[in-house]
């Protein structure tokens, strides 16, 4: 199953934004986990934990078929992710910041799938509105994208 390029791009944006933020955190957190946790909190508050859990299960199931590296990852009660740290490939920050996540990276695929499900149910406009409640405007700003930085 292929995802919409817009969602893939959005997932990349959010991961890039969190990758920068993660650099200053101690211990350094996985950008995927940071994005996922923000989505979990925001969507659980919005739609309820059970609704988020269902979406997360579905997104993970889709992502696993594309990224076998996610085989050990699980959605546990409350919608949290377990096992991502062990399976997630080491992220090359320079590569990430340049906007070069590889298609095989489990993290971006999982986030992409989760956003893709939101897009299917709510549409792009509403999905973006919800995300704007969880991230500051600069996370969506083109100027912060890896491509722009690279230029």
């Amino acid at each position: 199953m292929t995802s919409a390029p817009e969602m893939r791009y959005l997932a990349h944006r959010l991961l890039t934004y969190e990758a920068v933020a993660a650099k200053t955190s101690e211990p350094m957190e996985s950008p995927t986990l940071r994005v996922y946790e923000k989505l979990r909190q925001s969507l659980s508050a919005f739609a309820g934990t059970a609704a988020f859990e269902s979406l997360a299960f579905r997104a993970l199931s889709q992502a696993k078929s594309e990224a076998p590296g996610l085989w050990a990852v699980q959605v546990v009660a409350g919608g949290s992710l377990k096992g991502l740290g062990e399976s997630e490939p080491q992220i090359d920050m320079d590569k990430d910041l340049a906007g070069e996540f590889s298609a095989g990276d489990g993290g971006i695929i999982l986030i992409d799938r989760l956003l893709g499900l939101l897009r299917i149910f709510l549409g792009e406009s509403l999905t973006l509105s919800l995300l704007r409640n969880a991230w500051p405007a600069e996370a969506f700003d083109d100027r912060n994208s890896g491509n722009r930085r690279k230029a």
Partner: protein, 504 residues
């Protein structure tokens, strides 16, 4: 206390077309309201319309969902409505799910959660959807009452206008404490009537202001809930002072019979059996109005506007040009399961849009057939309200009605609605000299002189044409089977009735 000392209650727009009129101008600010009704009755949509109409970034809306429909699915469907503005979801409207706290904790914790969110957001509007599921867990009456009381007090103190949505049955009205605490109680119903669904809204209670009593029909369209007030949105419109102007048909002999025409603002009934020329007369009435510079509306139920206009052309009347010029609108109101109020809404819209002075309803039988079966029972009452409202704003209405031709009776209408009309023109067939000919008589004109004569007429390519003088050489014309009296035809001028009511 003088009027100036009284607190002014601001009225908030409901965001529901037609509902502001019903609630007396808008919803009282800071009120605590219940929207009740069965599943699928439009409760959530109504609440969403209010939220989207009032939420701002400075004073947002908090929409608490509980168990039941998930917010994701709810928004998936709600965003299909035209009032739904996705931009409002970043900053102006927040959806918060309380399922977990409701499932795992008690009402005290639920109240605390709501309190926390309200304190953080300082909302202008708070909705709990569904409140019924929130209080479904077993608890004492006292605990429930205390929760509702504290919730209402807290939200009012925070200057929030609140809606609690619940699937309540009408027999719960008596004992449920929530209905005592509420300032406003909106009840939505949908009832199957044979093959149609009839939706009705009732404002059972609204503290602080006058709402329009009774059951108001509403419809859910792609624009959301649309309500149709029983007063047709004309509350506050003063009845125009009685006009002495006469509106002509453009048929000189008939206008003479009517004492110069029908009085402006009258309701005229043209009754007759099939083929007697009721629609022709109605078309001439509207065409003459346009000729005199009076825009008109024709509401047709039995034929399409194009066919109606083409028939007019065959009578030498041009209805195409005035339609293009915005002086005439032919409304085709055929879809089944209409309510009178919806029909009225369409007519009123058009009346206001083109400033119509004349309205033709062709015919009442078609009108009745276009209504949902549930509304047909109230047809007379609805018709009364409609005619009263329209003539009240100075529109002159001509309605046609088909009557069963009888050779023993002379009925004016099968609907017994002659009391709704100011003027009645009766058309009928008579058997004369081996021919089926047509006669016309003005039965009544409220407040005006009219001819008592029975006149023969024909329908020609010029429309209705009245022939000769009154028929004095026949007796028993209104029976349909007159007898030749041997008297010569009249050469008199039409004799006049004073127009004083004789009790038709």
């Amino acid at each position: 206390m003088s009027i100036q000392d009284k607190v002014k209650i601001n009225k908030l727009p409901t965001g529901v077309p037609g509902l502001d009129e019903i609630v007396g101008g808008g919803l009282p600010e800071f009120s605590f309201n219940i929207i009740a009704g069965a599943p699928g009755s439009g409760k959530t949509t109504l609440a969403h319309q209010f939220v989207f109409a009032n939420a701002t970034p400075e004073r947002p809306a908090l929409y608490f969902t509980v168990l039941g429909e998930s917010s994701i699915k709810m928004l998936r469907y709600q965003q299909q409505y035209t009032f739904f503005n996705p931009d409002k979801l970043s900053g102006s409207i927040r959806f918060i799910n309380l399922s977990q706290v409701v499932l795992e904790q008690d009402l005290g914790a639920v109240l605390k959660e709501i309190t926390n969110e309200v304190e953080k957001a300082n909302p202008a509007v708070v909705v709990v959807d569904s409140f019924r599921t929130m209080v479904r867990k077993p608890q004492s009456d006292m605990e429930l009452q205390s929760f509702i009381q504290r919730l209402a007090l807290f939200l009012a103190s925070w200057q929030a206008t609140t809606f609690l949505i619940g699937e309540y049955a009408e027999d719960e009205l008596r004992d449920n404490p929530i209905f005592t605490v509420a300032d406003g109680l909106f009840w939505l119903r949908q009832t199957p009537e044979r093959n149609s669904i009839v939706r009705k809204l009732q404002i059972i209670k609204l503290r602080g202001q006058d709402s329009v009593p009774g059951l108001h029909t509403f419809r859910i369209t792609d624009a959301g809930v649309q309500a149709f007030s029983r007063t047709f949105g004309l509350t506050g419109h003063l009845k125009d002072p009685p006009s002495h102007r006469r509106l002509c048909f453009g048929i000189p002999e008939l206008d003479k019979m009517l004492g110069g025409g029908v009085r402006e603002g009258d309701s005229v009934l043209v009754a007759g059996s099939s083929g007697t020329g009721k629609s022709v007369l109605a078309t001439q009435f509207i065409a003459e109005g346009i000729r005199q510079g009076e825009p008109g509306i024709v509401a047709v139920f039995e034929e399409r506007p194009q066919a109606y206009a083409e028939r007019a052309t065959s009578l030498g009347l041009d209805l195409e040009t005035p339609q293009k010029d915005g002086k005439l609108k032919i409304l085709y109101l055929r879809p089944l399961d209409l309510s009178v109020d919806e029909t009225m809404h369409s007519i009123l819209d058009s009346v206001q849009k083109i400033g119509a002075k004349r309205l033709v309803i062709d015919s009442l039988a078609g009108f009745e057939m276009a209504l949902s079966p549930g509304f047909r029972a109230d047809f007379r009452e609805s018709l009364y309200r409609m005619i009263f409202a329209l003539t009240g704003i100075g529109v002159t209405i001509l309605s046609t009605v088909e009557v069963d031709e009888s050779f023993t009776e002379f009925p004016f209408s099968t609907y017994s609605i002659s009391f709704l009309t100011d003027d009645i023109i009766r058309l009928r067939y008579v058997s004369i000299d081996g021919q089926l000919r047509k006669i016309m008589v003005v039965i009544k004109m409220r407040g005006g002189n009219h001819a008592k004569d029975i006149r023969e007429y024909e329908i020609t390519d010029k429309g209705v044409v009245i022939l000769g003088k009154r028929l004095t050489n026949y007796q028993g014309l209104i029976s349909g089977i007159p007898v030749h009296s041997g008297r010569p035809d009249s050469t008199d001028e039409p004799s006049q009735d004073t127009g004083i009511e004789h009790g038709t």
